[in-house]
């Protein structure tokens, strides 16, 4: 509670912003690094006896600060892992390090487990996470499994280090302050290497803390599973998610670009994962990268790399970091989900993610957007475009309900939504709107689901409806194809939120369609 108190004081005095919090971490004024992983941090801050009302009463800034801490913790975790690997890697091998070497488990010679998991994920089901779900839902049985043995061990190690750090939390923080919160020090400080045995002494402590650390449950969707004590954690996560969702809606988006990484990750569900799952994911990502994919798919991907956000400096050049990462993420996804493979449009989604987060996070966020039940974007891209067809039907109906005059005009002109709205859905407006505007819509999409996209569609059409009513079909199509200056993002978001469409309306419309 020390840190929360500190945060609150800062909040009251108005002296801190999100950026300054980040800075203050670097200066060591506030150290959050003595605690382990994203969700435990939140749990640490939200005492169990808190009610919904307590969490709701959190000030907006606090809520976002907490998100930022989560991001910070996550970064730290990643850096510690990198350090671990760095220590294990043979000197000089770094440059030539294969993807395999980057996965800590591989270094432990965990070949059996890797192959078992990998083969299962890739061959049996594109929805790998479902497999993880069943794999982990078995709880203790799974833990005793040979295949899971090493994962369990790794978790114990991490757990051990967390417990140790928590018990010396304050001292640790002081040390960090003095040392300028250098993460490399944090990494070396009592952090067990993956090769070291898990101490028996740590085991007892770990059991006590299992509640906090063990499970980072996906909050709206059972895609990512948990090991143990799921319900309590799920409830807390859901409450936090609900509070954050309200803030995002209230703000009409995420007020800081740098926060999108955490907020998008959180809302997509990709951030909420146990340490073990995170490790599995990392290993799996590298396996996917090494998995050969259908050459025709890889050709189409290759051809589209230079044709996705071609004007953006990060994507302009074939050797640009954007294009390189885009290819890797798209190929990995094609390997993960051969039924979808690659469909034109997906590149725009991945690019948008890559503009806000590192490659591997972008991949897992994308996986959640594709496969999570809330977004189910893979249905959009599957052969025959099943979800797109459904969306066209719904948009037609919504148009008829909300903008009946325009609907009649379009109908008279023979203009159907399918002629202009495909890109809106397939690229979530990235294709058409300036990045800043699209990102605002994404904030709302990720926090509230497809309803935000329909609201955006209706808001855009409504904005220009008087003009469109005077236009022929051809002129309307030409007009709708482009974004027109003068639509300020604040105003667009305001109009979007004003569209009286509720998630439940959309849900029932989906069932009808």
């Amino acid at each position: 509670m020390l840190i929360l108190t500190a945060l609150r004081e800062k909040s009251r005095s108005g002296s801190a912003t999100l950026c300054s919090l980040c800075t203050s971490n670097k200066n060591g004024n506030i150290s959050c690094s003595s605690i382990g992983r994203p969700l435990p941090v939140l749990l640490f801050f939200f005492p169990k006896e808190w009610t919904d009302a307590d969490i709701d009463s959190l000030e907006r800034e606090e809520s976002f600060w907490l998100s930022h801490i989560v991001q910070f913790m996550y970064l730290q975790q990643k850096r510690q892992r990198q350090l671990q690997q760095h220590r294990q890697a043979a000197p000089g091998a770094a440059a030539a390090a294969s993807q395999k070497q980057r996965a800590p488990h591989d270094d432990q010679g965990d070949a059996t487990s890797r192959e078992n998991d990998g083969a299962g994920f890739q061959k049996e089901s594109p929805l790998l996470l479902e497999r993880e779900l069943s794999f982990q839902h078995d709880g203790h049985e799974a833990d005793d499994d040979d295949a899971a043995g090493n994962n369990k061990e790794a978790d114990d190690l991490l757990l051990h280090s967390i417990v140790k750090k928590r018990s010396h939390g304050d001292d640790d923080a002081k040390v960090r302050r003095e040392e300028g919160d250098d993460l490399s020090v944090g990494g070396g400080d009592g952090q067990p290497t993956a090769g070291s045995p898990s101490g028996g002494g740590g085991g007892g402590g770990a059991a006590v803390d299992d509640d906090d650390v063990a499970s980072l449950h996906r909050f709206h969707d059972p895609i990512v599973s948990t090991d143990g004590n799921a319900d309590a954690l799920l409830a807390v996560t859901q409450r936090i998610a609900a509070a954050m969702r309200r803030h995002v809606t209230l703000e009409g988006g995420v007020p800081f670009v740098s926060l999108r990484r955490i907020v998008w990750g959180f809302f997509s569900g990709s951030l909420q994962r146990s340490p073990r799952l995170a490790t599995q994911h990392h290993t799996l990502y590298n396996q996917l990268l090494a998995t050969p994919i259908d050459p025709e798919i890889s050709d189409v991907i290759q051809r589209d790399l230079g044709r996705t956000l071609p004007t953006h400096c990060l994507f302009r050049d074939p050797a640009s970091v954007g294009q390189v990462q885009l290819r890797r993420v798209l190929c990995a996804y094609a390997a993960l989900d051969p039924a979808v493979g690659y469909c034109q449009g997906m590149g725009f989604i991945v690019s948008m993610l890559l503009l806000h987060m590192p490659e591997e996070e972008a991949f897992w966020t994308f996986v959640h957007m594709m496969q999570g039940t809330q977004f189910a974007m893979r249905q959009l891209y599957l052969p025959g475009f099943p979800l797109l067809q459904q969306f066209f039907i719904i948009l037609r109906r919504l148009l008829r309900t909300f903008l009946p005059t325009l609907y009649r005009h379009f109908d008279d002109e023979g203009l159907d939504v399918a002629f202009f709205a495909a890109q809106w859905y397939m690229t979530l407006f990235v294709y058409q709107l300036p990045f800043g505007v699209a990102a605002r819509i994404w904030d709302l999409f990720l926090s509230r689901g497809w309803v935000a996209i329909f609201q955006a569609a209706l808001a855009l059409l409504q904005w220009d409806s008087e003009l469109l009513l005077t236009m022929s079909m051809e002129d309307s199509l030409l007009y709708l194809k482009e974004f027109h200056e003068g639509k300020h993002e604040e105003e667009l978001v305001r109009r979007l939120l004003d569209v009286p469409l509720h998630e439940d309306d959309l849900r029932s419309a989906m069932l009808d369609a």
Partner: protein
């Protein structure tokens, strides 16, 4: 919007669909014609994109103006599911391949087959070998293109959207052919062509049975 030219009463609308493998230059070809412009890294087309340009054919008697209403489609195989709503009722279809890719010619052949089976028999099909400025990388000879066009009785052009070679000639000639074959004619009621042309699957029927059928 440079491409939007005011429709005059005497303009004859002609719906044109552009088909072909991805990245052969469909969008570039359409943009070259409509905006006289070339963008090296043209964004991949998602769904389809609409463009239009009116062209006066002064050597016709009487002189006429054709308004080309161009549907530029996405090239990936998967988007074929959406193609019928663009080629149905089209006056003309450009089937584009890339002369530096033998594979794209095979895709063009399958497009021709699909048009034969499903499009309006009146639709005038033009086979277009694009990127003819990249002579050094050529994989498809002019002869191969011509042979295919003759066999299928299509118009044939090699074009370069990059330097503009043959682009205007292609559309002018297509316009003339459309007129001479009576596919389009002055005095046609505009509405009747448009509404006939554009019947998106599922737009009139709530359960889109049509869409479930794949036309390829």
């Amino acid at each position: 919007m440079a491409s939007a030219s005011p429709t005059r009463a005497k303009d004859i609308p002609a719906k044109i669909v552009v088909l072909g493998e991805s990245a052969v230059g469909k969008s570039s070809l359409a943009l070259r014609f409509v905006r006289r412009d070339f963008i090296p890294n043209q964004e991949a087309t998602i769904g389809a994109s609409f463009l239009s340009r009116s062209v006066s054919l002064v050597d016709e008697s009487p002189p006429v103006t054709i308004k080309f209403e161009i549907w530029d489609t996405a090239g990936q195989e998967r988007y074929r599911a959406l193609a019928p709503m663009y080629y149905r009722g089209a006056a003309g279809a450009l089937v584009v391949y890339d002369i530096t890719s033998a594979d794209s010619l095979r895709k063009a052949e399958s497009w021709i087959g699909e048009l034969r089976r499903n499009a309006d028999p009146q639709t005038v099909v033009v086979l277009v070998g694009n990127k003819c400025d990249l002579e050094s990388m050529r994989q498809v000879s002019i002869q191969q293109g011509q042979d295919l066009a003759e066999k299928e009785e299509l118009l044939f052009y090699e074009t370069s959207a990059k330097d503009g070679t043959n682009v205007d000639a292609l559309f002018t000639n297509l316009g003339k052919t459309l007129l001479s074959r009576g596919v389009i004619a002055s005095g046609v009621d505009r509405r009747s062509t448009m509404s006939r042309n554009l019947q998106p699957p599922g737009s009139r029927t709530p359960k889109s049975e049509q869409q479930k059928r794949c036309d390829c």
